[in-house]
């Protein structure tokens, strides 16, 4: 009956995306080995990319795969291998008594609150946005053009600010991860 109301293809796409997202997310928090968690994270990110494509956010789906699955998870794996922390964490030890129960209650309240808010609010009215003057969201190449136009006109200042943010992040990461040199080395460098 669900497939009758909505196109079978979109229901199947949603089911696939939901399965990938939820199995991957549970894998991230349940697996003991950090490497396995990182691989589970890739599964979730692919599921989110499928959900993006299904909702005509084609450019973001590509960026999701390239930046998240391609760069961020590789960065995670690189640090895991670099530090050699791919040992199993003792997930069954509970240093704070009742931590898990409180966390479960907190997560349940969060999810329940969000779902109740969604069910009772009237945010999704179906009204067209005024900023796009009723132009429908495009898919494919037109989506890239639409998003590019928005970023380079309406959100230009924010876009420029991200450039500064990325430079600061790179400098900060180099500064943090750099090996401390001895005082003698630094003196020599200053003299030179």
């Amino acid at each position: 009956m669900i497939a009758g109301a909505y196109a079978l293809a979109s229901v199947l796409v949603f089911a696939t995306a939901a399965l990938l997202i939820l199995v991957g997310a549970i894998g991230v928090i349940a697996l003991k080995n950090p490497v396995h968690s990182a691989l589970s994270l890739i599964m979730t990110l692919f599921g989110v990319a499928i959900a993006f494509v299904a909702q005509s956010a084609d450019f973001l789906a590509a960026v999701q795969i390239i930046v998240y699955a391609g760069a961020i998870v590789v960065l995670f794996l690189f640090v895991i291998m670099f530090l050699g922390v791919d040992r199993r964490e003792h997930v069954h030890v509970e240093p704070l008594v009742g931590q898990r129960a409180f966390a479960a209650v907190g997560a349940a309240i969060t999810v329940g609150g969000l779902v109740v808010l969604m069910a009772r609010s009237h945010w999704v009215t179906g009204a067209m946005s005024v900023s796009t003057k009723g132009v429908a969201l495009a898919t494919g190449q037109a989506n890239v053009k639409q998003l590019g136009t928005a970023i380079f006109t309406t959100y230009l200042f924010a876009f420029e600010a991200t450039a500064a943010l990325l430079v600061i992040a790179v400098v900060g990461a180099v500064l943090l991860a750099r090996r401390e040199r001895s005082v003698h080395d630094e003196e020599v460098e200053v003299d030179a």
Binding site: L75, F76, I80, P95, L114, V124, N143, I168
Partner: protein
């Protein structure tokens, strides 16, 4: 016809809940970062869903900026993890309790 927006919103809420549960229970700093990524992705999914529902590309632009900030956050965060690991030989956040009152 596409599936209703509420399905994707509930999926995003559940993903956010799983991420927050993992953040509260796991003690390896690396896994906690991955849980933050899960929560950020849940928010991104919500943005894209509302973007589709309201036919406004602004939601997708927000996701773009969230991705940039997430990349910067992971870079600095992993730098901090590496710096902490050099001193403590562990990424467990339980061992970083020297500021405890």
């Amino acid at each position: 016809m596409n599936v209703p927006a509420a399905w994707y919103l509930i999926l995003a809420a559940v993903l956010f809940g799983i991420g927050s549960f993992g953040l509260l229970t796991r003690r390896s700093a690396l896994i906690m970062f991955m849980c933050i990524e899960l929560m950020l992705n849940a928010v991104n999914l919500t943005f894209v869903t509302f973007s589709r529902t309201l036919s406004d590309v602004g939601g997708q632009a927000s996701v773009f900026f969230v991705m940039v900030v997430a990349a910067a956050e992971v870079t600095v965060g992993l730098g901090i993890v590496v710096a902490v690991f050099r001193r403590r030989s562990s990424t467990s956040v339980d061992e970083l309790s020297e500021l405890k009152g």
